[in-house]
Point group: C2
Chain length 254, copies 2
DNA sequence: CGCGGAATTGAAAATACTCAAAATTAGTGG
DNA sequence: CCACTAATTTTGAGTATTTTCAATTCCGCG
């Protein structure tokens, strides 16, 4: 406490001004540095820009803005959304801690979608030009970056399958099971979690209306498959939900 | 003709055994080598594997197979499709000459979808491990590869918008306008082209039934927006189709 | 306590689907 | 080249799922 340096260092401890450090980050096994050794993590750390806070409902970036950074989510949740010529909107994904935002912008050096914070959140800025330079020198990082982009491609293909091929009930089950798995991967409960997005957002993402989502929740509740209290969800019958999601089971509309 | 070497060289002219050469390929401005200088194209050429022919309806790869190569389409058309647990199928894209197949497999080293030839086609094998090694040495190629992956991400986001947000008529217009633009980019007519895929494939891709596609074609024909003869399509009113695709115009179902 | 946004519920309407039959086209072998 | 069969496409009629519109309830918040 009375260490001679503490007075000097204290002003630097303003969290938002602190340089983000992958080495100390609890997410580094989920995030870009996955699989890197200490030396390489440090090289990555050196190019990571400032940490940025984004308040709920604010945009991290918007469609059309020039692209300079990717963003790794440190804390919080985001949604990404497309807007078409006639004002129609489609949420293309919900992202959580450890996930990377902005990869769609590489192709044209402009963002192709908006990214909005679903709650107060924090991201690490990753200047893409510097990252790409670094990729040439760290083969492990290069390969892992390609895996991340590829994973985004497969994720989107799964959503295409969902939107093109599934009925409302199955879509919603897939949505719940997917959230469940991602929370589990982060060490949280797989059966009990909070929806960070509104019913409207869920509906938009799943290609359904808010009313349909509301009805589905009521139906699943009535069947005893889950409990809902506002945005708090508890999966009471994960096996049944997985079966619904897989399409091996289904329930009559009532 | 009577050149002393001609007899010796002739047997090597079996086209399918010829090593693919990016330098001589008419597609190199659309494909992976885009923007490379001659020296770098040659380095790329050295890692490109054999050229492979895929007959109509055959698979270039299937879901679950181990991943070793990306494929650049030299000639012909492909479709990629997802299959889910209950047998439901979703076509996630139609690919044409100059486009890259297989990027979804990088994430897990296994293919996540099937790629099937829509007609007799030809691809260049690109061993991914070698490509990735080369990327470290050619920054231009590295960046272009990232653009290609990113472009695939944005393409899929557009399809999500289509599937989640648009009515049948608009989906179909988007489909036609997209094909039109891609043929134009390849130097073909933007208003007159052949559908390489069945009505069933179109329907599956757009999240509609074959009957809906058939009715839409009839309706568009009756409106004078296009002519169809089997798989030959002629866009008679591209502006209207673009407006429909953009959602700034629409037509009553009849 | 009352206001406002979000969520739920109900009833009517619409879009696209299913099922069925007919027409057209493609493929095959004589 | 034609005939035959199989596959694909078109068209129609009825149905189903989901949407739309409207009204109500729930909750947070000043």
């Amino acid at each position: 406490m009375n260490h001679p340096l503490s007075y000097v260092e204290a002003p630097a401890l303003n969290v938002s001004a602190l340089k983000a450090s992958c080495a100390n980050c609890s997410l580094h096994q989920l995030c870009l540095p996955m699989g890197l050794d200490t030396a390489d993590i440090n090289r990555l750390d050196q190019i990571i820009g400032r940490r940025r806070r984004i308040a709920k409902d604010e945009r991290l970036y918007q469609m059309g803005e020039p692209f300079t950074n990717l963003y790794a989510i440190r804390l919080g949740h985001f949604k990404t959304l497309q807007i078409n010529a006639s004002g129609g909107q489609q949420i293309t994904g919900f992202q959580m801690a450890g996930e990377l935002l902005g990869m769609d912008a590489i192709s044209t050096d402009r963002h192709h979608c908006d990214a909005a914070a679903l709650e107060d959140s924090e991201v690490c800025e990753i200047p893409f030009a510097l990252l790409e330079e670094l990729l040439s020198h760290i083969p492990t990082l290069l390969h892992h970056f390609h895996r991340i982009m590829s994973q985004e491609i497969t994720r989107e293909q799964s959503v295409m399958l969902l939107l093109g091929n599934m009925r409302a009930e199955q879509r919603f089950a897939v949505f719940l099971v997917n959230l469940s798995a991602r929370y589990a991967a982060r060490g949280y409960s797989s059966t009990s979690f909070q929806l960070r997005m509104s019913r409207e957002d869920i509906g938009n993402y799943l290609g359904l209306t808010i009313e349909s989502i509301s009805r589905l929740l009521s139906r699943f509740k009535k069947q005893g498959w889950l409990k809902v209290d506002k945005r708090e969800v508890q999966l009471l019958n994960p096996a049944m939900l997985k079966a619904l999601a897989a399409g091996t089971e289904n329930c009559s509309p009532m």
